[in-house]
């Protein structure tokens, strides 16, 4: 029996005074991949921001435990260092900060938290270039300021690289396939699958079933009205693709 990695109980959260997450319950065990599907505007992304501790996203009640620890009392960076990684829908540009510099700061922050020595520049560059190559990121791209002027596909490759080198124990993919062509989506899917093992877990937040053809989930949940309204296996995603969300949204 594998242990729970994420336990969400009766979670309620609001953004700008508006309640988006209501009485949300979900437990994800080590080794599992869960997908949350739902109509646009239902607040799926809100869930990912709440889990990551983004400012402006306020938890009003409920609890979240991550690997047994109280997640909600941790800062954003502590959650990240504990192993939560969010593949973002719109990765932000940071002018003047070379991708390698950014990655090095991130890797060393996580390593320090884990009690590991910082990587020196040579070790780090060797590792990042090697992993980059596997994802179709060349040395030139690594020198460019992070995400600045990157195409949608390049941004997602960079996200995949960050995930690969940070080796999170829990990855959240927030609409990771939006606006991507098949090749770029496959890169993301491959990097997720490569990370997948019996200790790590994933949460895939998506509107379409498409990505789930490449990263096969153990569970599929339908999110509407602030919480999960139905849970099934991968076949539920196929069914949704055919019948739409209408049936689940009309609940209240």
């Amino acid at each position: 029996m594998s242990a729970p990695i994420l336990e969400i109980e009766d979670l309620c959260a609001e953004v700008g005074g508006k309640q988006i997450i209501k009485d949300f319950n979900l437990t994800i065990n080590e080794g599992e991949v869960h997908a949350i599907m739902g109509p646009n505007g239902a607040g799926k992304s809100t869930l990912s921001y709440v889990l990551c501790g983004k400012s402006g996203y306020k938890v009003t009640s409920g609890s979240v435990r991550f690997k047994g620890k109280d997640l909600l009392s941790m800062s954003t960076e502590e959650r990240a260092r504990e192993g939560i990684f969010l593949i973002m829908q719109y990765p932000v540009e940071i002018p003047g900060v070379p991708s390698t510099t950014f990655l090095k700061h991130a890797v060393n922050a996580v390593r320090q938290h884990q009690g590991l020595p910082e990587l020196d520049t040579m070790e780090f560059l060797k590792m990042v270039r090697e992993e980059g190559r596997k994802l179709g990121i060349d040395n030139e791209m690594l020198k460019r300021p992070i995400n600045v002027g990157f195409s949608g596909g390049e941004k997602k490759r960079m996200e995949a690289l960050e995930m690969t080198i940070l080796k999170p124990s829990f990855a959240i993919l927030d609409e990771a396939d939006s606006g991507l062509d098949i090749d770029a989506m496959k890169v993301v899917a491959d990097s997720v699958n490569a990370l997948r093992d019996n200790k790590r877990a994933m949460l895939i937040i998506t509107h379409f079933q498409r990505l789930l053809n490449y990263v096969e989930p153990d569970y599929v949940h339908i999110f509407a009205n602030g919480h999960i309204v139905k849970t099934g296996d991968k076949h539920l995603a196929v069914e949704l693709e055919q019948n739409g969300y209408a049936e689940y949204v009309k609940e209240n």
Binding site: C52, K54, S55, G56, S75, T76, E77, A80, R81, F85, L86, M88, P91, V92, I94, P95, G96, V97, T101, F102, H105, A106, A109, V110, H113, P145, E162, L166
Partner: protein, 480 residues
């Protein structure tokens, strides 16, 4: 004589806030003709220089302190300051071994191990100005082999009077402005650099300025002359102890650049900025100007301004020679109650002259910052080109940033471009960094360093590292 007391610097982040307990020879308080005569006598100056000082003093008394800058500070009582303070030493040091041990320790604390540098014959030659007097110039012998003169301006007045007389005040006349005029009357030391024709300086030349004594104004004067086909890169660093009173600093830098010569002047200014409530700190009123007199000459100013309570500074380029080039790269950071009104002047006179201005201002806390710049194209300056870019970054909601670019164009062939942006560090950028495990302060420093990158890459390597560290220190506590 006064012995400065040690100020308790516990709990503060300014790491250069210590004072050095050293016997000093200090002039009485106040500014009169007699004080100027005293300074001149102490320095055993020639008659012409005393006359020049006195003329400047006479003129200064007719002038008004400028009020056009966006700065507010308590009125300076010029009669309450000492205008001369020198570390007491019986005879002028001939080499480092004769320099006071306490003084050398001070420079060690500041990260300038003079002895080590001389011994290792490294890359930088240093002139160190302590309060008013230059105490040590390293590498002199090695530079002299190439014909380069690098010494304190006092020594230059003694040993190279013709050169000093020819160029002193030729770029910044004593009538130029209130603070320059004051400096001309009372300047006590500074550095002198002369690069002969065809010589490229084999090392970077560097001056460290240090205010130590209490209630003492510091008025250095730097003069750099680069003859035809020469090159020099010059670095200037500044620190001051932490004191509750404000300290006045009014310096002048004059640079003359002849045909095909190039001077690169880099500054890291870290005078004590005052405490978080705006108590104490250095008033920094500086006139820096370079005259590109020769054809194809080039001057490049790079400054990183993190210190001082009040900064009033506009390093300028007078582009007289045809095809001459002027550049200004600036990062100014203000936090807490600091105020900075800084920028540049590009005066296009020769034909085909080019200038470039890249200014990055970062304001945090309750600070206020103004970029003030002038691009002037005179009627004879055919085909002048200027590119100006002024970017401001705001951290928090209580600081201010202002951009005041003046353009005076009298020639139709000029091509002038100006871009300006003001932005805040976005929540999204911070979130992105933090979600990858990077702490908030580290994230801010990463974003700010990215913002300044275009300027920082113009600094010599060892200076760039120091400057990046300073930026981080300056911004500590500005978020959260």
């Amino acid at each position: 004589m006064n012995r400065p007391e040690i100020i308790d610097e516990s709990g503060d982040k300014y790491k250069y806030g210590f004072t050095t307990d050293i016997e000093a020879d200090t002039a009485p308080v106040g500014l009169t003709e007699d004080i100027i005569r005293l300074i001149s006598r102490k320095k055993e100056e020639p008659e012409w220089l005393l006359d020049w000082r006195l003329k400047a003093f006479e003129f200064w008394q007719t002038m008004q302190e400028p009020t056009w800058a966006k700065l507010s500070y308590d009125k300076i009582d010029y009669q309450s300051l000492h205008y001369y303070s020198a570390p007491k030493q019986k005879v002028a040091p001939k080499s480092l071994s004769e320099v006071d041990k306490n003084l050398l320790e001070t420079y060690d604390k500041l990260g300038i191990p003079l002895k080590e540098q001389e011994a290792l014959a490294g890359v930088v030659a240093v002139d160190a100005v302590f309060d008013s007097v230059s105490v040590a110039t390293t590498y002199r012998a090695k530079l002299a082999e190439k014909g380069i003169i690098f010494c304190s301006i006092s020594e230059a007045i003694k040993n190279h009077p013709d050169l000093v007389k020819k160029y002193l005040g030729s770029v910044v006349p004593y009538t130029d402005n209130y603070f320059a005029c004051l400096n001309s009357a009372v300047f006590t030391d500074g550095s002198f650099v002369y690069i002969p024709k065809g010589v490229k300086s084999p090392m970077e030349l560097s001056t460290y300025f240090r205010i130590n004594a209490k209630n003492t104004g510091q008025f250095e004067r730097t003069l750099i002359v680069a003859e035809d086909d020469s090159y020099v890169s010059y670095l200037e660093g500044c620190t001051a102890p932490q004191r509750d009173e404000n300290q006045l600093h009014a310096a002048i830098v004059e640079i003359v650049v002849m045909n095909n010569a190039e001077v690169k002047y880099s500054t890291v200014q870290n005078w004590y900025p005052g405490d978080k409530d705006g108590k104490g700190g250095v008033y920094n009123f500086v006139t820096k100007r370079a005259a590109c007199r020769g054809a194809n000459s080039k001057i490049s100013w790079t400054q990183v301004e993190t210190g001082s309570a009040v900064t009033w500074k506009y390093p300028s380029c007078v582009l007289q020679g045809d095809n001459s080039v002027g550049e200004f790269y600036s990062v100014a950071i203000t936090n807490n109650r600091q105020q900075a009104d800084t920028g540049t002047k590009m005066i296009h006179i020769g034909k085909n002259t080019t200038s470039k201005i890249i200014s990055k201002g970062i304001s945090a806390g309750f600070s206020n910052q103004t970029y003030r710049g002038l691009v002037k194209v005179t009627p004879q300056a055919d085909n002048a080109r200027n590119y100006s870019q002024c970017d401001s970054l705001l951290i928090g909601t209580n600081c201010g940033s202002h951009t005041v670019p003046y353009v005076e164009n009298r020639n139709r062939s000029a091509v002038l471009e100006h871009e300006a942006t003001t932005s805040k560090i976005s929540e999204e950028q911070l979130f992105y960094c933090q979600q990858r495990g990077i702490g908030e302060e580290e994230a801010v420093s990463l974003i700010v360093n990215g913002f300044c990158k275009e300027v920082m890459q113009h600094l010599p390597m060892e200076f760039a590292i120091e400057a990046a560290k300073l930026i981080n220190i300056s911004l500590e506590g500005s978020v959260g």
